[in-house]
Structure formats: structure tokens, C-alpha cells
Amino acid sequence: MTTAATTRPATGARRLRRPKGLSAHILLMLAVLISVFPFVWTIVMATNTTKDIYKSPPKLTFGSHLLENIRNVLNTIDFFGSMLNTVVVACVTTVLVLFVDSLAAFAFAKFDFPGRKVLFGTLLVFMMLPLQLAVLPQFILMSEIGWVGMLKALVWPALSNAFGIFWLRQYIENGVPDELLDAARIDGAGFFRQYWNIALPMMKPALSFLAIYAFVNAWNDYVWPLIVLTNPDHVTLQVELAQLNLGHNTDYSMVMAGVLMAAIPLVVVFSIFARGFIAGATEGAVQGS
């Protein structure tokens, strides 16, 4: 699995760490190259013209057409307006998902109550149903309650995704020690105090992952916003981006510039949360020991 270095006798433990670390870095860098290459290639496409993309072999160096492509994007679609809508939807969705899911997951992970298994099992069963199935009935429902065209029509259905509960419950079971909760209980803390004061801070690493997951999903969601947002002033970024990609005569370099512009905020948000992720993990370790 790792390297030959690891099979050496364990005497010089300190000396052993260096070559092992080095080979790990080499392997990781290789993986990074593979994972980042398409991303870099997107930038390459966004800085070149469509002609360059279809050369054979395709052009692999950065070009000088980025500004021109960005200008084309801004001229074709309402980029910033739709981005604002997306930011609002993604942020509200993320915050609500974190709250709703962590509360439920805590109850599922650490308490027993009648119907717990059945309720939890229902979630699991429903996770296996593709959501496209529900598009038509969901739209009829939205129309009945008069939410068609509104941004809240995006937020609420997104909250019914059970992944967060599944994931947080998994984490809490092992990551939040029973002893701590027992101690809190002896101190007189009730259910919600245990949740707020003990479980929630300890869930931080899991929460930041869920936050990224929920944010990215809300950001990249396409089919549902396309259908439910009938008001042209209230569309999201992905729906606008789809305008660029029309099938015939697609200007791919422009599409890629749009994709890039839409992805940058995601990477920024991700970097912020990833830092929280690291901090959270260390905190947990300190508390745990």
C-alpha cells in the first residue's frame, strides 16, 4: 500500500518518517495533478478561442482572450444578478440544512425513542429514489401553494435531502463521546443544551463538510431551478449559464469563461470552510484527549 520504506525494521523510527513522508507527498502530488488538470484546462479553454479548442491536438497553453470571453458572457446573460440570487439561495439553504440536519442527527445518534428505526430507515429508502422522479408532482405542489417563480421554491425542497442526517449521525455516533453527554446530564443539561453546548461544537469538522456539500449542491443545481423559476428576473446562475450552451453554434470558450466565473466563488467558499475543517479537527482532538 505505502512503500518499501515502511517494511524496514522499526529501530530508527525518526529517520524512517522522512522517506515515507516524501513518497506520500509524491503520490499526493500525482493525485493533485490528475484532479486539477481538467480545472486548469477549463482556464485554458476560457482564455482561448473556440477555434483553438477544436484544433488537433487541442491547444494546451493559456491564451489572451479571457477578457473578451468574459465580456461576451456579461453581454449575453445577467451574470451578477443571477449570481446574487444563487448566493442568497445557497447561503440560506446551507444554514438551514446545517441546523435542521444536525438537530435531527443528534437525536438519532444518541437517543432511543419509539419509531426511531423506522423513521431513520424511511430516510435511507428515500435517498435511493432519484429526485427527478418528483419533478412534476413537486412543480404542481409549488404551483398550488403559489411559490412558482420564487427563490424559496428552491430552498425548501433542498432541505428534504437526507444525506446530511445520514452523514452527521454517522459522525456523532463515534465523534461525540457518550461520557461527555453523560457528564453534562449529571450537571443537569437537557436535550437541547447537550445538543447546543456539547454536540454541536464537536461536530464542527462534519458540519463544515456538510456545509460544503450543501452549498455546492445548491450552487450547481440546474434542472429544478430551470423549471420552477419562471420569472426571468429571478433565475440562478446555472440557469443563466445554460443560456450560453445552446447546442448549435456553441461558443465553447465563452461557455468555459462562464463556467470559470461561476466556479470561482465556490472555490473561495470551499477554501474558507476547508480551513474551518482543519481547525475543527484539531479542536476535537484536543477536547477528546
Binding site: K55, K117, V118, G121, V125, V135, L226, E240, A242
Partner: protein, 426 residues
């Protein structure tokens, strides 16, 4: 992970039990209100109409109506269907419908207004009859107003033809590519002179055009499946020929964009396809020409405007669409967005009669104009495109896997029959 299988089954049972509760759900069909609204919405997709003409329409009618247009990306039909199914205020007053989707909306013609009632009958002679008919129910209700059409022609590389010692003049090429057989013979000569040069990009496109040249398609007017009959088999055999002759490039993905400027000597396509070629292969400017397609023209694509029955002001909405699609404004749309009009009067106008530099200055309307008027009137059933799909898929199987054409035909027919049955065709 302490969820047992029993818990799992319990959950499944619970969900099943609840199903009974939800059956009562139903759609709504709210219209109501006054029919002289001042705010009208219009849906189309990028490239369906000229944005310039739409903007002019907004100013032209600003006295009576505030027109809001939205250009919708992605799967337009899905969005329109869901919105119509739900009804209510979100339904647009005017909507585009793609040519390939119009037949599937005909069984639900009651969701749309009959344009004949609003005055289309009086002006319908300005538009091509075969195109108008495709948006008409059997009892004569007109739900679609033709925007544009896609008459097909043969695009060819004059420079490659020249190298192979073939004629390059459009009239002469049309003469030597009069039938499918003549056309494929050209391909063999091209291949002999320049190995690696192909005649057709894939055989599905040949099949598509060959079917479109006839008056019968896959389902007849009595709702019988006729996709296993001679006319389809003939189109199929035509499509197979370039494959067996080795002049088929077998391109079934986006590499077309890269191939078009290189080793494809001809393209069979609709008028709008000129723009695809132009943007994918700008380097070949001046080398392309157009002539009549072998064995006559077919139609590919071309859309309609329709008024959903919820339309808040049918009279004004009809005025707006008939203004946008008037022969004069169609000329503007052609200049602005190369939308090939369904009104023959426009073909005589200056906007369309000029030479096209991409085609070496050729006046391409001289090819597409007559083609547009020569397209046969055919019956397209609502399930037509669904039934056609397995034929296209099997043709691509021949190209991808080397599947035997006869096996592919049998599989295509049996699949098409199944789909037809599912769609309620006898």
C-alpha cells in the same frame, strides 16, 4: 450502523402504506380573470427569434401592451410541459414550440388557443402550407404559427471536389448528385482520389433526411404503426449504403466540430446548418457551396409560436406574433439571426437574395427557396419522434459496434413497435 434489515423493511412497508394517501392529488387548470390583460409574457429559447425584432415589437406595441420576453435555456419542452400541467399565473401568454415537439403537443390542443379564430386563417396563405399543416389538429385547429423552417440541401467542399476531378458548380453538382445512388458514387470517387475523405458524417443523418423526403413517416393518420413498411425500409437501405461503401465518417460525437474543416467533403443539412459549418470551420470560408439534396428536399427543425389557453389577451397577443412573423420582419430576422422564414414572400426580399461569402458569393436562397416550397406535406404523429428513436440508435450501433445491418433493422423494428404500443399506437 445499527439499522437492521427489519427496520429497513418496516420503513418500506410504512412508505407503501402511505401511498394510498397521496392518490387524491390532482392538477389545477386555473385560467379565469379578464382576457384583456396589459402585461404579456413571451417564452422562447436563444436563437428561436431575432432579439432585435422582439425588441422592436416591444416598442411597437408599448402603447397597448407591456411585453416581457424571456429566453429560456436547457430543455424547453420539459419546462413548458410542467408549467402547462400546473397551470396558473406562471403560464406564458406566448410561447415558442420547437418543430420536433409540435406533434407531441397536438393531442393536448385544448391547452392552446385556435389561431384560426384569431385571424390566422386570413393570412395563412402567406406561409408554407406543409409547415402550417404540421401544427394543425385533425379537426383543423391551428395551434402553432410558423416561425422558421429547415429546408435541407447538400453542402459540399468545392476545393475537395475539384481535387478529385469532380464538377464544382452547384448546378452541375446537383445534376451529378441527382439521386442517392449518384451521390454515393461521388463519395467513392472522392475516396479514391483522396483516401481519408468521407462523404457523410454519419448514417443516422442520411436516414433522417431520407425519411423526411417522403409523405409517410412511422405512424399513419389512422394511428397505425407503419415503421416496418417499405418506405422506411427504403430509407434505411439508403442510409446503410455509405456505410458499406466505406464513405461514412461514423462521427457520433462532438468531434464533428473538428472534422468539419478537415475530411468531410459534404454535409446534408438544413439551411440553419450553414451557420454550424461556418462557426466550426471558419478556415474553410469560400470553399463551400450548396446545391439541391439528392432525391429532393426534406425539412429539419423550424419552430412555432403558440398562445396557451391561459393567454391574458388573445387578440393583442395574436397581433404581436403576426407582427413579429410578418414577411417583412422575417427578412429582418434572417439578417439578424439567420432564421430561415416560413413565408415565401420573404425569399424575394433583398435581405435574402444577396450572395454569401462563406459560400464563395453563391446566392444560397436560389437553392433553399425552391427546396422550401418543394417539401412534401407529411403526417407526423404525436409519438413519431419516440418511435423513430430506436432506428437512430440502431444505426449508430452499426457504426459503433459493426452490428449487422439486418439484425439492427430487426431490433429497431421490434423496439419501435414496443414504443408505439406504449404510446397507444395500434
Amino acid at each position: 450502523m445499527d439499522l437492521s434489515r427489519r427496520g429497513f423493511l418496516q420503513a418500506a412497508a410504512l412508505t407503501a402504506a402511505a401511498s394510498g394517501l397521496t392518490v387524491a392529488c390532482g392538477g389545477s387548470s386555473g385560467s379565469g380573470g379578464t382576457k384583456n390583460g396589459k402585461n404579456l409574457t413571451m417564452w422562447y429559447w436563444g436563437g428561436a427569434l431575432s432579439d432585435k425584432v422582439v425588441a422592436e415589437a416591444k416598442t411597437h406595441f408599448s402603447g397597448q401592451i407591456k411585453l416581457t420576453s424571456s429566453s429560456i435555456g436547457g430543455d424547453f419542452k420539459q419546462k413548458l410541459t410542467t408549467t402547462l400541467a400546473a397551470g396558473g399565473d406562471s403560464v406564458p401568454d406566448i410561447t415558442g414550440i420547437k418543430g420536433e415537439d409540435i406533434a407531441s403537443f397536438l393531442p393536448n390542443a385544448d391547452r392552446f388557443l385556435d389561431l384560426n379564430d384569431l385571424g390566422f386563417k386570413k393570412i395563412s396563405s402567406q406561409y408554407l402550407e406543409w409547415k402550417t399543416k404540421l401544427a394543425q389538429t385533425k379537426d383543423g385547429k391551428q395551434i402553432g404559427f410558423p416561425i422558421d423552417i429547415g429546408p435541407t440541401a447538400l453542402f459540399y467542399r468545392a476545393d475537395l471536389f475539384d481535387k478529385a476531378g469532380l464538377p464544382t458548380d452547384p448546378a452541375k453538382v446537383a445534376a451529378v448528385a441527382k439521386t442517392w445512388d449518384d451521390y454515393f458514387a461521388l463519395g467513392s470517387e472522392l475516396k479514391k482520389a483522396q483516401p481519408g475523405v468521407f462523404l457523410v458524417n454519419n448514417i443516422s443523418s442520411v436516414f433522417n433526411i431520407a425519411v423526411g423526403q417522403g409523405t409517410k413517416r412511422f405512424i399513419d393518420e389512422d394511428n397505425h404503426f407503419i415503421g416496418d413498411q417499405d418506405h422506411i425500409r427504403a430509407a434505411w437501405d439508403t442510409a446503410i449504403r455509405p456505410y458499406t461503401l466505406g464513405i461514412d465518417a461514423k462521427i457520433n460525437d462532438q468531434t464533428w466540430n473538428a472534422a468539419i474543416g478537415k475530411n468531410l467533403a459534404t454535409e446534408l443539412g438544413a439551411a440553419w446548418h450553414a451557420l454550424d459549418i461556418e462557426s466550426a470551420a471558419p478556415g474553410t470560408k469560400g470553399n463551400w457551396r450548396v446545391c439541391a439534396s439528392p432525391d429532393g428536399p426534406a425539412n429539419q427543425g423550424g419552430s412555432y409560436l403558440a398562445l396557451p389557453s391561459q393567454c391574458r389577451n388573445p387578440e393583442e397577443a395574436f397581433k404581436i406574433i403576426s407582427w413579429i412573423l410578418s414577411p417583412d420582419n422575417n427578412a429582418k430576422s434572417y439578417t439578424d439571426a439567420t432564421i430561415f422564414p416560413a413565408s415565401p414572400a420573404t425569399y424575394e426580399m433583398e435581405a435574402m437574395t444577396g450572395g454569401d461569402e462563406f459560400f464563395g458569393g453563391q446566392k444560397i436562397i436560389e437553392v433553399f427557396g425552391p427546396a422550401a416550397e418543394a417539401i412534401p406535406i407529411s403526417y407526423e404523429a404525436p409519438a413519431d419522434s419516440a418511435v423513430m428513436a430506436p432506428f437512430m440508435a440502431e444505426l449508430s450501433s452499426i457504426e459503433a459496434k459493426g452490428k449487422k445491418p439486418d439484425d439492427a433493422w430487426n431490433d429497431a423494428v421490434s423496439q419501435a413497435k414496443q414504443i408505439a404500443r406504449r404510446q397507444g399506437v395500434n
